[in-house]
């Protein structure tokens, strides 16, 4: 793309680095900012810089937070004896949106994948183990760890590895979220692997 102005070219170049945004969209955003009052651009750039500088990760669960400890970990209404282990902060938000879970979280920061150079030490795995040890010492032991990882091979591997590490804790229940047929999905159109897993993990019929 040809630009008549170096300034525009720079701005478009930076915006187009964002995921899902190409040169054309970037140019449209830039032209929009040019037409809007100057304060809008100032507020946008300030908000981004401040977000980057001040953002914190919760010391306990590693979820994105404004404080040293996030509001989920601080909330007196939540059950600190249950930890839901997820890959990324987005997953915390997804589970929160269900309004079905009232325990704490632990954000790993990814899944184990040697091909991509991601091993257990790259992730917050030793932090999780520490956390459970510390809770035990403080006489507020963790009762259950729920593994809520993607149903991919890497997710399964990570879950398996965590299970191996956590088995050392007696009285700790390790569970994994159920996987199966989407609500409204038709059995006939469900792939064999999902259907197979759903049958293996069947539950007794209630209500």
């Amino acid at each position: 793309m040809q630009f008549s102005s170096k300034l525009i070219e720079n701005a478009v170049g930076e915006i187009a680095k964002l995921p899902g945004i190409g040169q054309k969209t970037a140019l449209r955003l830039v032209m929009h900012l040019l037409k809007a009052p100057e304060e809008q651009s100032e507020q946008l750039s300030k908000a981004i810089v401040k977000m980057r500088q001040d953002i914190k990760f919760c010391q306990k669960c590693h979820h994105i937070s404004d404080e040293e400890v996030c509001n989920i970990c601080q909330s007196p209404r939540r059950d600190g004896a249950i930890i839901c282990v997820v890959e990324e902060s987005q997953d915390v938000m997804a589970v929160e949106n269900t309004a079905q879970y009232f325990g704490h979280y632990h954000v790993l920061g990814g899944v184990i994948s040697p091909i991509e150079g991601i091993g257990p030490s790259t992730l917050k795995i030793s932090e999780l183990i520490h956390r459970i040890e510390k809770a035990k010492e403080e006489d507020e032991p963790i009762k259950e760890v729920i593994l809520a990882l993607s149903p991919t091979m890497e997710g399964d591997t990570t879950a398996f590895y965590l299970t191996k590490k956590l088995r050392a804790f007696e009285d700790l229940k390790i569970t994994t979220i159920a996987r199966g047929i989407p609500v409204g999905g038709e059995l006939e159109y469900t792939d064999e692997v999902t259907l197979g897993r759903s049958i293996q993990a069947r539950v007794s019929f209630a209500d």
Partner: protein, 395 residues
Amino acid sequence: MQKTIVVNRFVVGENNKKSLQSIHSFMFLFNIQLLNFKNYEELNMQFSPQINCLVGENGSGKTNLLDAIHYLSLAKSAFPGQDQQSIRHQEPFFSIRGEFRNEDRQHQVLCALQQGAKKVLRCDQVPYERLSDHVGRFPVVMMAPHDTDLIREGSEERRRFFDAIICQTDRNYLQWLMEYNGLLKQRNALLRQWQKNHMPADQDLLETYNIPLLDRAEKIARARISFLDQFEPLFQAHYQALSGGREEVSLRYRTEVLKEDFKEKFEQATEKDVVLGRTTMGVHRDDFRFLIGGHPVKRFGSQGQQKSFVVALKLSHFDLIHQQKGFKPILLLDDIFDKLDDQRMQHLLKMVAGHKFGQIFITDARPERTKGLVKEIDEEVKIFEIEKGGIQNKE
């Protein structure tokens, strides 16, 4: 510029309707349209549901046309690593369209590739989520001069051949194989990291890969065995018929995986695996052994015996699909007249004449020979003269 044009087709045998109806369940390729595929700029053809002969000089594009049919069936070339090379030189894309027909329906299949993009595969306008969902719907079996690579090359060639057959008929097998290969890649990456950084092997992490890997390996090995149980009798029958019943042949699957102490040995190999940076044991090392009179056909089989061996393998593949799908796959015969001697040729032609096959595509560089051979056969035959450079009327 090269242009390939069909000049002339004629029909031998008018009672094609009768023989078509006598086939209980059928499937055939009705037509094909190529755009920028290999040496074809644009091509439209309508085929016979029975025998189609593609004749023309070497280099005219006969094999390319068979490969286009292979693409429609299996979403890939019959030759490894060909996708980008299949786009006609200096063009941005290729597309292959074809209409398959069976007794109750017709299906439009489109396979297209844009330079640098992902392959597109659609059936009746609906794109597939996974290419593998298409495989097996419109099966083909191809016989080609390079088939004897199966005997001559290493074990990988044979695993690929049999894995592809088993995948077509067993969905679980495809899944296990994909999982096995994924786990193997990760495990090998881990081994290479340890090798590079001189790190001690993290036993827990290693076991995380070992356990599912061993599980899939066992499933794969068992599936290969039960497949061979089914396949070997078909193979032996075809070989006997081809060779006149003189030699005894067998297919042996060789694996360490099902031995009692495999797990132990696999774990003992860890040190070696770290040094080499790859997994040295598992179903990715298995072999299918081809034996004639108990000896490897690679070393002890004559040229003719080796040819019979691969033809029998392909015919058994044909039978297996027929048995499992209830209809006959399309048969692609590339230059086999040059490769087979009289006896083997007679056997094949007898099978053709006995309506053992469904739709067939045959290529030959010598039109007179093909015309002579198919004249005797009571099926609808179309002969396409493929020429590069323009129309050349022959009749």
